[in-house]
Subunit: 586 residues, 2 copies
């Protein structure tokens, strides 16, 4: 069909007014995207003490962190400067800082609110300073791939989800030659400061860069400041009152909670399905715990509890099967089971057993190929180390079969790719038919993941990140380096903070080698959020007390809700948040 | 841990005010659910002519349907009464109808808005008549499992998604003995009318029941009226201006569109993934087309086009691979491909080939067991019918392997369970490496399904269904039977209609036997929605013009949006809808 006929064809068929308005909605201009760009973002009182938005200074606060000696030795510049003290917000900056060139980048997986970090940063730096955007993450920094961020850009990205404004990647800048490359790029582009928006690893990287670029980067002997901003949907970058949560967690968990709430409604409607849902969130179970508090599912597994209470996979399967049978007796042949993405890694011995199994299956490939599955298993029991063999043998049959079968092209089974929800539901099915063959059990498996990393930012995440950006900018204008921007007191107007990143580091064994990293914050079994969950879950399993938190609302009476885990753990008295005490409830 | 310590433990750990408010949010009382119950629903002018909400009468409209002779023979009562004429709204009912006992049930998969059908129905029947809720779908009707629906119930369910108020199932009431059971139940419970809220099959069932219960059910010789309400997220129950769309489609597609929009933002952020997304929606591609119009993905496959243009699976794979390679040349190593759930069934010969393959694999089980995959395929080429063998042989290797491997415990591969998105992405991967091994291609596969059937109802679906319920109630009070409630002119205040269901029926071969069914409305290639899509998709594939329609909004500036396919196909000039001309834009 040639172009002319084609467009005539369209003109005849499509209402012209509607067709025109649909075309205007392309390229990031859906009605929603256009409307959210125009939304106001509240700013902390700290930034408006002078009557208008202005950068602030910082002073040493009351809380001092205590890194190990080895860490202190590795970060002499940073720790001498910070004295491990968390910075508290001071007064409005009186000195006019101008001419600074600040570069900002995204690092790691996307999370909602990243664009507002950039917007808040740009606003606080003001027209006297320059903000540069680094394309495609840390790799872009190594290449010097950057552009100047203008006010027009900010109008485009305000309040929108995703990291697509600049892109991101997972490059780590650790090797001396890479740090040298950064030095060169900073000199070439006359960069005075770098803002790294990322998770625990990216902030570890920020600490290293801050230390290595502390001085003697520029010709005048000055260094390059490096400031981190805490991002991750997993919620495992937390530090109590001083860092209540990383950004992106609220949006991601609200998106998952909507979907889980919908499935819970589906179970009560169709009256015949058990949905097994694996939730993204890496190792920690913060996401699962938050979604459970939002929806009150029949069952929610928490990896940290599995490890701490030494719960075996068979015990988990037994417990789920038991609940299903109990409910079936009441005529409730349905429910929802939440499974944290990292569960497998928390089952004692499981990860090393899989590694061992991968090795032994490769080693005895020829023998195995002629055997049926039972013979294969018998061989493996004898070839694995004793404890691994016992663990494998103790697993429910359907799980054993899946572990032997689900192999990639190299014969490996990476732990991260185990479809835990599918494995659990088939093991539960088998267990139920052993225990009571009259119980009806029909299951559906789901993985909720990528669709939430780039979700439209909640009002909380938009507000939080705009102020994190303003905090990061203020830290830079106040001459600080090696700090992570944070905000405390989210229920009382929010207070900007600077957390000395090096002081957060600890030694952890990664891939067999000691590494200096920010310890991942796991769910604590003595935290208010877990204790509250524990006090309710039996009731949730027995009866139907589920709720559907609905789609994320940007307007209207339900648009202002903190994550429940954050409100509980920080002992706030409500889910409402305030980023300014002057702020009226919309 | 004993109960006392436990609750003390919680009391000490959890802020009491917060803990109390969290408990109040259980059991369907999330902040969202509480808020939406209080939302007003607009009512069509037709129902408020008298100044307050009142039932209306109907009169024969201008459009007359033309069922085949065979259908007319099977539905003599219904067709004699309706003369195949679509009923138009008449005046406010002047006669006070009282004492009617109306039973309502959900049938088939859940869809958002079902609860508001019940709410609208209850409202229009008023306190003079009784509304009974049938539990767990048509099966509940056969058992006489019902309860009286009160005003308190309505306050609970108003504007909420799901069918959990009464539950649903997929029982078909077709056999004479089942129809007799319904007669008995109607007599026992003194039921005067039944409202069946369901999809095409359920409405076919409603037509049959209406015909069979036309008279002589009660002792006085009267019959039982049966009215259908058009529900299905698939959108395949449509009839042009007179039935612009089934309810639930808007909510489901907006939920999928949010997620697809998020994935599109993820691609532009991570810069390295191709997401292959299979979308629920059964045979027709309405859901995929709507989601494509909402998000402007890189590629969206439309099953009806595949069938009509006789496109082979290899051609589909080639075309996707070609787009991916073209984009890679521009540095765009990412994108989103939408795949309708029913695609496979529309590929010429595919379904019968799979059936043949299932048979032959069972027949030659022993020979196959000793062979490698290539030998197995060679055997199958020779054993299948010639055209099936050629089709199998023509498929990309990864698809062949999957078709041979993905077998259930009985050795079958049900077409509906083929993970088309996974099959396509692996075939595309193989094709790309044949064409250009330097092209980076990393894919992630998704199925978006169950989480949208029970989503919170959009403002459109809530408004539409409340008025459908009022229409169904009016049809009953006006003494009609065998009609489906509908609304036309959704952009101009909406007009209630009654569609004679029997007149919609056609003969279709199902499971090898002729059946009288409502023909599924498929995507028409000459419809404005498809023509508009076709005019834009090349641009969407070449450049990044994607939009993210965001989460469904119940409040605020973006809460009022019709499905784009509906607005296009009905030649509306905007996406705004009006269920009352008096209604102010909120």
């Amino acid at each position: 069909m040639n172009k002319l006929t084609d467009s005539l064809h369209v003109e005849n068929a499509v209402n012209a007014t509607l067709g025109d308005s649909l075309k205007r909605m392309e390229n990031g201009h859906s009605l929603f995207e256009t409307a959210i760009r125009a939304m106001d973002v509240p700013v902390c009182d700290a930034f408006t003490q002078s009557g208008s938005l202005a950068p602030i200074t910082f002073r040493a606060g009351t809380r001092v962190l205590e890194p190990s000696g080895e860490i202190a030795d590795s970060f002499p510049n940073s720790i001498a400067a910070s004295r491990n003290s968390i910075l508290a917000a001071g007064d409005t900056m009186t000195a006019q800082v101008s001419g600074k060139r600040v570069a900002v980048l995204f690092s790691g997986g996307p999370a909602a609110g990243g664009h507002n970090v950039v917007a808040g940063l740009k606003q606080i730096l003001g027209p006297e300073n320059t903000l540069l955007g680094i394309k495609a993450g840390p790799k872009g920094l190594l290449k010097g791939n950057m552009f100047e961020i203008t006010g027009v850009h900010i109008l485009q990205i305000r309040n929108t989800g995703g990291f697509h404004f600049m892109g991101t990647d997972r490059t780590k800048i650790e090797k001396p030659e890479d740090i040298d490359k950064v030095r060169t790029v900073c000199r070439e582009h006359a960069i005075d400061a770098i803002v790294i928006i990322g998770g625990d690893d990216s902030n570890t990287n920020a600490a290293l860069l801050a230390e290595k670029l502390f001085s003697d980067v520029k010709e005048d002997g000055s260094g390059v400041q490096v400031i981190g901003v805490p991002k991750t949907i997993d919620g495992d970058l937390q530090l109590g009152d001083e860092l209540p949560i990383s950004f992106g967690f609220d949006t991601a968990t609200k998106i998952y909670a909507e979907k889980v709430g919908n499935l819970l409604r589906d179970t009560g409607s169709s009256l015949k399905y058990w949905h097994f849902v694996r939730l993204m969130g890496r190792s920690a179970s913060h996401v699962t715990l938050e979604v459970a508090l939002q929806t009150h599912p029949t069952i929610a597994l928490i990896s940290e509890e599995v490890r701490e209470c030494d719960i075996t996979l068979s015990e988990i399967v037994d417990s789920i099967a038991g609940t299903i049978i109990e409910r079936a007796k009441k005529g409730l042949n349905y429910g929802v089971v939440l499974v944290p993405e990292g569960l497998i890694e928390f089952i004692p011995g499981f990860t090393t057993m899989i590694d061992d199994l991968n090795d032994k299956m490769a080693q005895f490939k020829d023998e195995l190929s002629g055997m049926n599955i039972r013979e294969q298993l018998l061989l493996m029991y004898s070839k694995l180390t004793q404890s691994h063999g016992e663990l494998l043998e103790s697993l429910p049959d359907p799980i054993k079969y899946k572990l032997m079968a689900d192999r990639d092209e190299h014969g490996n089974l990476p732990v991260s790719q185990i479809e835990t929800e599918t494995m659990l539901s088939s093991a539960v099915k088998a267990r139920i038919s052993e225990l009571d063959e009259n119980v009806k059990f029909e299951s559906l498996n789901h993985f909720f993941g990528y669709e939430a990393r780039c979700g439209a930012s909640t009002v909380f995440d938009s507000s939080y990140t705009y102020n994190l950006g303003a905090t990061a900018g203020s830290l830079i204008l106040d001459g600080r380096t090696g700090y992570m921007a944070s905000l405390s007191d989210l229920d009382k107007g929010a207070r900007p903070l600077g957390i000395p990143i090096a002081s957060l580091l600890d030694i952890e064994i990664r891939k067999g080698k000691p590494a200096q990293v920010i310890e991942k914050a796991l769910v604590k079994l003595d935290s208010p959020a877990f204790i509250y969950f524990e006090s309710r879950r039996k009731l949730w399993a027995e009866s139907d007390l589920s709720s559907s938190p609905g789609p994320v609302q940007l307007w209207g009476p339900t648009s202002r809700q903190l994550p429940k885990t954050v409100a509980l753990n920080r002992q706030y008295s409500s889910l409402d948040f305030r980023f300014s005490t002057a702020q009226e409830r919309e």
